[in-house]
């Protein structure tokens, strides 16, 4: 800790960053942003996607992504004027005095080299430690960050380590040279809630122990509340509000901050009244579903088995929430119901009638009645087709509507999902994430289905935007009486929208029942773990969890 005794602070003044298209005009993406971080303090940068968080974080290292340029301002990191440094001077700073922990650790590790080689690389580049010393220090850091097998994990390749572990390895890489300033760029966004907790706990411990000065970028207010001392809220590249965590959480002044706050504690959208048994036959029911991927073995089961004896039932206008960690088989279940992945055992009934397992044996009418809305609106809309083409296709395909009827219905659909009619002639690439997700939903609605399978429809969206989509879903359900199977890994969202919940782990049903009852009194340890891992919007929550679980840092 060579710089531990120096005083001073990190100061950013009137930072301006522009993006320029090839031969095109420049657009400013960060406008005159300024803030100060005292030594040993962690500042959180929070804001919607595209608000300029990463851009500012990178600018701290004098770095601008290809196509961007820093156009003005000053950055003072404990006495060093970063923006005035020569290229060589900048290289001397990066990875040495200022370190960066990227959003996606999986992408930030070079797949072709061992982890250790990459972790100690910065020490070798800056000549701060010999290879042996760096290796020893790295191993100590691995242990400190609660990584398993700290002595050997460095010999592995990135693909041989889990996402949560990689994120911590990236932190070890950043901390190796005892930097003055550490930048965390959404280090837990890509992780499961349960994994996120582990990573947060180890980060928090490291920050405390070392008195790290840091910038923590996130869009999750609850996460930020655990780690940061102060919060800066960004909006369209401008600083909206900055203040201490307590104050921001309890008394935000900027409307956007208030929106953020509201989204972090989702409202209960469904009353308990819908949940009770009306005696009506279920519109969709699945029993004993066993399914997976790969060629079928001699026992008729696929080689990679994912789902084991899963079943559920769903009534008209009801919402079933399915929750589980990544890889637990949630999407696979939705695919089995939709017929994309044929079930090896068990059956799916629609209005009591068993459905053929394979897609090509289902008739068009059956296909129409069950629609699936996929997680990622970015990839699920054909970028080469216009919105009108995308929405009119099911109208022509299922309802054989003529051109003018289609156009009329298209406008209705756009109204239904609260989009301006003018988007009809655009392509998906010209829409925002929330708008795309609405189109995605509208396409399902176009079929006039009885059941919509929503696979993580809000996971890729900002919390604020996601909330709006949830509202829309509930409204549509009231209007059209559709039933939803709602898949999510976010317990808050599930709690807010579903009548009943089913918890999946390793392809098996852990627990199922009416939402309120189940969440109020979970029977299974796994459900409890899930519940306790959802970050809460209060400082000190992380410490409580840690104490509760007795995790040693």
């Amino acid at each position: 800790m060579a710089h531990a005794h120096k005083s001073g602070s990190v100061r950013v003044e009137a930072l301006k960053v522009v993006a320029k298209a090839e031969d095109g005009p420049e657009t400013t993406i960060v406008h005159e942003v300024g803030f100060e971080i005292a030594r040993g303090e962690v500042l959180a940068l929070i804001g919607e996607s595209g608000s300029g968080k990463t851009t500012i974080a990178l600018a701290m290292m004098g770095y601008a992504r290809k196509g961007c340029a820093i156009r003005g301002g000053a950055i003072d990191v404990f006495g060093t004027q970063v923006l005035a440094c020569s290229p060589a001077g900048l290289r001397g700073l990066r990875g040495n005095r200022i370190a960066y922990i990227a959003q996606s650790a999986a992408a930030s590790f070079n797949p072709a080299r061992t982890i250790m080689a990459q972790v100690i690389e910065s020490a070798l580049i800056h000549g701060s430690l010999s290879a042996e010393a760096a290796t020893a220090k790295a191993k100590a850091l691995f242990a400190e960050l609660a990584l398993p097998n700290p002595d050997t994990i460095g010999d592995r390749y990135p693909h041989q380590v889990s996402g949560g572990q990689l994120q911590r390895l990236l932190a070890a890489m950043a901390l190796l040279n005892d930097p003055d300033l550490v930048i965390f760029d959404e280090p837990t966004t890509a992780l499961d809630v349960t994994t996120q907790i582990e990573v947060l706990i180890s980060f928090k411990a490291a920050i405390r122990e070392r008195g790290i000065t840091g910038i923590y970028v996130s869009h999750d207010l609850a996460v930020v509340a655990q780690i940061a001392d102060r919060i800066a809220v960004l909006r369209h590249g401008r600083l909206a509000e900055i203040g201490a965590v307590e104050q921001m959480v309890s008394a935000p002044t900027h409307p956007y901050t208030r929106q953020l706050l509201a989204a972090a504690a989702p409202v209960k959208r469904k009353g308990p009244e819908a949940a009770h048994d009306t005696g009506e036959a279920p519109v969709l029911a699945a029993t004993g579903i066993t399914a997976g991927y790969g060629p079928a073995g001699p026992d008729g089961l696929p080689r990679i088995k994912i789902l084991h004896d899963v079943g559920f039932s769903l009534r008209r206008a009801e919402t079933l929430g399915i929750i589980g960690e990544s890889g637990s088989g949630k999407s696979t279940l939705a695919r089995v119901v939709a017929g994309i992945v044929p079930a090896a055992r068990g059956e799916v009934r629609l209005d009591g009638k068993p459905l053929p397992t394979a897609l090509d044996r289902r008739d068009r009418e059956t296909l129409r009645r069950i629609q699936i809305v996929f997680q990622n609106a970015d990839t699920v809309l054909n970028p080469a087709q216009s919105i009108a083409q995308i929405l009119e296709r099911p109208l022509a395909f299922y309802h054989r509507l003529g051109a003018s009827a289609r156009r009329q219905r298209l406008m209705q659909l756009l109204d239904q999902v609260r989009l301006p009619r003018s988007v009809a002639d655009r392509r998906p690439g010209e829409l925002s994430g929330g708008q795309k997700q609405r189109i995605n939903l509208a396409r399902a609605l176009a079929a006039e289905p009885d059941v919509i399978l929503c696979d993580e429809v809000t996971s890729a969206l900002d919390t604020v935007v996601g909330e709006a989509v949830l509202d829309l879903l509930v409204e549509i359900q009231r209007e059209l009486n559709v039933a939803y199977v709602f898949i999510s890994h976010d317990l808050g969202v599930i709690r807010s929208i579903s009548d009943a919940v089913m918890v999946l782990q390793h392809g098996r049903v852990v627990e199922a029942g009416p939402t309120e009852a189940l969440l109020a009194d979970p029977q299974e340890p796994y459900t409890r773990l899930l519940l306790s891992s959802v970050p809460e919007l209060r400082t000190g929550w992380l410490e409580d969890v840690r104490a509760g679980r007795g995790v040693a840092a």
Binding site: A21, E22, D23, G24, T27, E48, G50, H236, A338, G339, I340, L359, R362, R364, L367, I372, F374, N376, T379, V380, L381, N382, P383, A384, Q385, R393, P394, F397, Y398, V423, R426, R427, G429, E430, L431, S432, G433, G434, Q435, R443, A447, D462, V464, V465, A468
Partner: protein, 284 residues
């Protein structure tokens, strides 16, 4: 919240359509090539086959702006006539190769499984025979006529086009929007043509351009081996070839058609390399 994004987006797409100067030059050259191919004969000052001068390999002069050839024919007229064969044959062969290659590639990618493996192996096997050798055997077997030339060259370049299409289409076919179409119950034809195909237009246009260049060059190689376009017709490659004796004294008769070929291929390359906002594909 989303309005701002919406406002920026169309501006961004307008930016993407900005044409770089290199692409503009390329496009101008390609356009000239096409115009010459269509109207070349009408523009030529002399009959391309007529011996107009006793002097062979004549220099550039007022009467013969690009000199005369080895028999004393007007070179400008011959190059104008040659444009039809070079541009025409190459465009036709490339179009045929791409149509077949794209069709097969899409089919293999969308159907997958054994069909894909067998098609890929078969076409791989074809690639393993050097193109000039394959052309040699085919033309020796079928005789050299314009249709045969076009078909032969199309045939030679089908595997390359197939390969690129398949590689692109396999990725696209794995995209979620294709899965969504399948879940809707769409047939293969619709998926191939309406879902997958429109997403490959950019890279395929690039590939088309490169393949066009290869065909032009293969055509001139074949002329060297005496298998190309047969007189009295002459593509630019055979013009170079038949006048090569003039190279020793730098006769325009040999230089000019070579310059024409170089111009055309560089033009096409400039165009495809600088296509606005489109992914470029590798491969040959």
């Amino acid at each position: 919240m989303s309005e701002t994004v919406t406002d920026i987006a169309p501006a961004a797409s307008r930016l993407r359509l900005r044409v770089s100067p290199a692409a503009a030059i390329g496009a101008a050259i390609v356009l000239t090539g096409i115009v010459l191919a269509v109207f070349g004969q009408a523009l030529s000052p002399y009959d391309a086959g007529a011996i107009v001068d006793v002097d062979v390999f004549g220099p550039i002069s007022k009467a013969y702006p690009l000199g005369t050839d080895y028999l004393g024919r007007d070179m400008l007229s011959r190059i104008l006539l040659g444009a039809r064969y070079t541009v025409g044959i190459a465009a036709l062969a490339t179009a045929l190769a791409c149509t077949a290659g794209i069709g097969l590639g899409l089919f293999a990618a969308v159907v997958g499984g054994w069909t894909d493996s067998i098609l890929s192996r078969l076409l791989d096997a074809l690639t393993s025979i050097p193109s000039k050798m394959l052309a040699l055997v085919l033309i020796a077997g079928l005789g050299s006529s314009l249709p045969i030339l076009v078909l032969t060259m199309a045939f030679i370049y089908v595997p390359g086009c197939y390969r690129i299409t398949r590689a692109l289409a396999v990725n696209i076919a794995a995209e979620d929007f294709v899965l969504a179409a399948k879940a809707r119950g769409e047939g293969r034809g619709y998926i191939m043509l309406r879902e997958v195909m429109p997403n490959m237009v950019g890279p395929l246009a690039t590939d088309f351009g490169l393949r066009f260049v290869f065909v032009v060059l293969l055509l001139s190689s074949l002329s060297f081996l005496g298998l190309g376009v047969q007189p009295p017709y002459a593509d630019w490659g055979s013009l170079v070839r038949e006048n090569i004796a003039g190279l020793s004294y730098g006769a325009p008769a040999v230089v000019m058609p070579a310059v024409a070929i170089a111009f055309l291929t560089i033009g096409v390359n400039l165009l495809v390399d600088n296509l606005p906002g489109r992914a470029r594909a590798g491969g040959r």
